[in-house]
């Protein structure tokens, strides 16, 4: 790998680390992070496939309140680097995913460490504020962001420092039953993310929509965009109907909505 590629990979890793906490541009999402690594390392297609596959697993991973989800940033960056260094192209995607999951857990602990270290930064900000120093407050905030960036950039650089032959040797030494089993496991792990999301959203009122979605998805002619459009339309219809139903019955409660009654009678 050329020197420039290595530098760019570390920069991408830094961005992903920042985003792992900021959650704004989504550089830390596998879809984006793996693609960027692929772009700067010249192995775009395998990395895009890896990103897509990991994204499916990570769909439900979200930081809620003080809780931290498994770390998509470290998982995507490190597994993409391993995929690139392994040199197996698209065939290496399954193995890379198998490696990504333990890394997501490791990243979780790293981010907790940095969040604890940030307490010290905030105390420095207090001190700067007491002196009325805008620059000081800003500087410590930026330092804290950079610590989050380094959280991913340092492990990425360490991985790149390992000779390519060692990585390839390690990947080749993994027996087929292990990698195949891991990729089967990967197909099931997707369910955990969905389960997390459902647990957060599910109320008795919205379960019928889950059932409709599940059944409609079996029609393979419907694309995801079509399914999204159906879902959106149903949500709008439901809201409109429950409003008119609510005002006529005066209570505005769940029992007053006609569509809900129809669905309950199913």
């Amino acid at each position: 790998m050329s020197f420039i590629s290595v530098i760019l990979i570390v920069v991408v890793a830094f961005l992903a680390g920042m985003e792992g906490i900021l959650d704004e541009f989504q550089f830390h999402q596998p879809l984006v992070a793996c693609t960027l690594i692929g772009l700067v390392s010249g192995q775009l297609v395998p990395c895009v496939i890896l990103g897509g596959t990991l994204q499916m697993i990570a769909l439900g991973w979200a930081n809620i309140g003080a809780a931290v989800a498994p770390d998509a940033a470290l998982a995507s960056i490190a597994s993409a680097i391993i995929l690139v260094m392994g040199g197996q192209g698209e065939a290496g995607v399954d193995t890379a995913i198998a490696v990504a999951i333990p890394l997501a857990v490791a990243g979780l602990f790293l981010t907790m460490v940095v969040r604890t270290l940030s307490v010290a930064c905030v105390h420095r900000m207090d001190a700067a504020a007491a002196k009325g120093s805008f620059g000081g407050v800003e500087a410590w905030h930026i330092i804290a962001i950079c610590m989050q960036g380094l959280r991913i950039a340092i492990p990425a650089a360490a991985l790149l420092a390992i000779p390519t032959s060692t990585v390839q040797g390690f990947l080749e030494s993994m027996p087929a039953w292990l990698t195949d089993g891991m990729s089967i496991g990967g197909g099931m792990v997707v369910a955990v993310g969905y389960a997390m999301v459902i647990n957060m959203m599910a109320t008795r009122e919205v379960w019928p929509f889950f059932a409709i979605g599940f059944c409609l998805a079996a029609i393979s002619d419907l694309t995801l965009i079509a399914l999204g459009a159906i879902g959106l339309s149903m949500a709008l219809i439901y809201l409109t109907l429950s409003e008119s139903g609510g005002s006529s019955s005066g209570g505005g409660s769940n029992t007053g909505d006609p569509l809900g009654d129809i669905l309950n009678d199913y």
Binding site: T53, M56, I64, G132, E205, A217
Partner: protein
């Protein structure tokens, strides 16, 4: 009283841009406080020229704050309006400002999480990922562009809305709008999740349930095909007309399950995960367990 100090559009844009870094110094003590004050600094500089007032403002905004990073924008808008009033001499005390922040952050986080993390991101993510798994670069681009357009539009317009409406925003939001948005998002989210589970959770049971010898004419008789390219053509035609490739019909456990309800096992697996999560089993433990099940199942030939 001298001339009224107001925040220009440029100031407000600067605050909006800085609010992108809201979670940068997220910490276990006061969570988003560092990012919050970082975002407000341009406004504080503009509104207060006196050093003591500036210090007071910085300290006031280093208090605890935590919400969903995007729905912080309307709270910032309201806070800007309050700070502007205060700078112009209105009797707004620190407790009132802190009260507005704390009062808004809870209910708003309750909207931001289901809307952004559980509806918009899974939908766009699944859309992008399904394209990307086919090796198309369009997948990541679509996800990245759409997400950021939605995010920027939301952050800027809600901040402006908060700034214009001021504290009245709480009345507007509690008037049913919040509940409506949340409910609509959960309906869409649940619908899409149902679809995603059917499509993307994959479990394949390989054990063979039955092997049935097919009658003559129900399968392609490879020995009696014409030779050469013609033979390939005939074989393909026969295959297209529904003839089996082999003389035996092999039915795996998976085929049986699929004819019952497609996606039934993924559904059961998801329900099991939900139940485990409700029992406070860590998602990490479940993930690792599923990998072990995958490997063990593969080794014994079940999966």
């Amino acid at each position: 009283m001298a001339e009224k100090v107001t925040l220009s559009k440029k100031d407000r844009l600067s605050v909006a841009w800085r609010s992108t870094f809201l979670q940068g110094s997220w910490n276990y003590e006061r969570m988003q406080n560092g990012g919050w004050v970082f975002a407000l600094i341009p406004a504080i500089k503009k509104l207060y020229t006196n050093k003591e007032d500036q210090i007071a403002a910085l300290k006031r905004h280093l208090e605890f704050f935590n919400t969903h990073p995007y729905v912080a924008s309307p709270v910032i808008g309201v806070t800007l309006a309050l700070e502007e009033d205060k700078a112009n001499g209105a009797p707004v005390d620190d407790a009132a400002i802190q009260g507005v922040k704390v009062g808004m952050m809870g209910p708003l986080a309750g909207v931001g999480d289901p809307v952004f993390w559980y509806t918009v991101r899974p939908i766009l993510g699944a859309l992008g990922a399904s394209l990307a798994m086919g090796g198309s670069i369009l997948g990541p681009i679509l996800f990245f562009v759409l997400w950021n357009v939605i995010r920027w539009a939301f952050m800027w317009y809600t901040q402006e809305f908060g700034y214009r409406v001021g504290t009245k925003i709480t009345e507007d939001l509690s008037g049913g709008l919040l509940q409506k948005v949340t409910k609509g998002a959960s309906i869409l989210g649940m619908f899409v999740l149902g679809a995603l589970i059917e499509r993307w959770v994959s479990i394949n049971f390989t054990p063979v349930v039955s092997t049935v010898q097919l009658s003559d004419g129900a399968y392609i008789d490879w020995n009696s095909l014409p030779s050469g390219a013609e033979g390939i053509q005939t074989a393909l035609q026969q295959y297209a007309s529904g003839l089996s490739l082999t003389p035996e019909k092999v039915t795996t456990l998976q085929d049986n399950l699929n004819s019952l309800i497609p996606g039934f096992v993924p559904l059961l697996l998801t329900l099991l995960c939900m139940w485990l999560l409700k029992k406070n089993v860590s998602p990490i433990v479940i993930i690792i367990a599923l990998f072990i099940v995958g490997i063990a199942g593969h080794v014994v030939g079940l999966l």
